[in-house]
Symmetry: C2
Subunit: 204 residues, 2 copies
């Protein structure tokens, strides 16, 4: 702590980072609402009550904003799974936790942007980076399913198609979820995960 | 039948319609491969070995092409369900048939275009028309699920969330399916539908 009225360089850095995230979050919301191509930097500046030159202090261009939004979304999807995997539970229990956390992320700005916009508008190099992140998430789902089948906690199935089927069902929530709609993200996650665990066919 | 070397107006109309569909199909493939915004009318003309002015004989502009691709895709999704519903089977059996047919459609050009591109690039009026078609498909899923729960052929669940979960899982196939990949669309449909029917949790 210092008595100086000037901010320390550490404070300035963290303040800048905080504002940068606010820019990205506002942009992600705009992209999710009206689409990437229908959103201009002017629109983003207007939503933040700043001028376009102010934006350039935090970001280079619209492509960089989208790249960062999708990258952060994918990292949150990945850490949502890393946090629950390897704590000694059954693969089934871990998969339930990962699936539930996944819905939580895709119903927030950055995760939603991964699904609603994705990497298509970006350069091949950016797309490659983001696809590598996606692949890591897919492999986590797949290896959990494989482990579950081996230990008997998950029914026999094709792990690759099962991983895509689960990710598809859960990702799709980002397409239709409305933050001010009648159902909370938690309730949607519960119902959707339950269906994927138990299936449409009545038990017993 | 006529001996005239000139085509009848009926023949000319059907030939024109056939070529128009070829234009739309080629465009849908390009949109699915590299994205709507990365595809120009010149690209489409090149893929068809025709000039851009030739394209204008069949379509007005790129927006009209996308509208038609998505409209045809949605109509095929809807007729895939209409064909199997109401033939006296259980709601469960009908839902299995609808889900399987759904994967068949989203792995073809027009159905794939519904999922990979969608209506976002279009005008509000076009989007409204296409959303109304989507809603009809969603309501079919939902009413089948409701009927199945009532008759006991489908496990108790939230019909709205279940309909979105199924549609999401099956639509997602369009995102990752590769026509020249190792698994056929039929095999993917079988595995994916089976998982949704039986769930991840082992039976018995």
């Amino acid at each position: 702590m210092s008595d100086s009225p000037w901010k320390s360089s550490t404070d300035r850095r963290s303040e800048r980072e905080e504002k940068r995230i606010a820019v990205l979050r506002t942009a992600a919301r705009a992209f999710n609402d009206v689409g990437y191509y229908n959103t201009s930097l002017d629109d983003i500046a207007r939503r933040l009550n700043v001028t376009k030159p102010t934006l350039y202090y935090y970001i280079k261009n619209k492509e960089e904003i989208l790249f960062e939004c999708v990258r952060i979304g994918l990292e949150r999807l990945e850490s949502a799974s890393s946090e629950v995997i390897g704590h000694g539970g059954s693969a089934y229990d871990e998969l339930v936790a990962v699936m539930t956390a996944y819905v939580g992320v895709v119903t927030m700005e950055f995760g939603m942007c991964v699904i609603r916009v994705g990497e298509e508008p970006l350069t091949e190099e950016s797309r490659r980076t983001l696809r590598a992140l996606k692949r890591r998430i897919d492999l986590k789902f797949r290896s959990l399913i494989e482990r579950g089948i081996a230990e008997g906690s998950i029914a026999a199935c094709d792990p690759k198609i099962a991983a895509f089927t689960l990710a598809g069902a859960l990702s799709w929530v980002a397409r239709w979820y409305q933050p001010d709609g009648p159902q909370t993200a938690d309730a949607i996650a519960r119902h959707s995960v339950d269906l994927l665990l138990n299936g449409l066919r009545p038990r017993g």
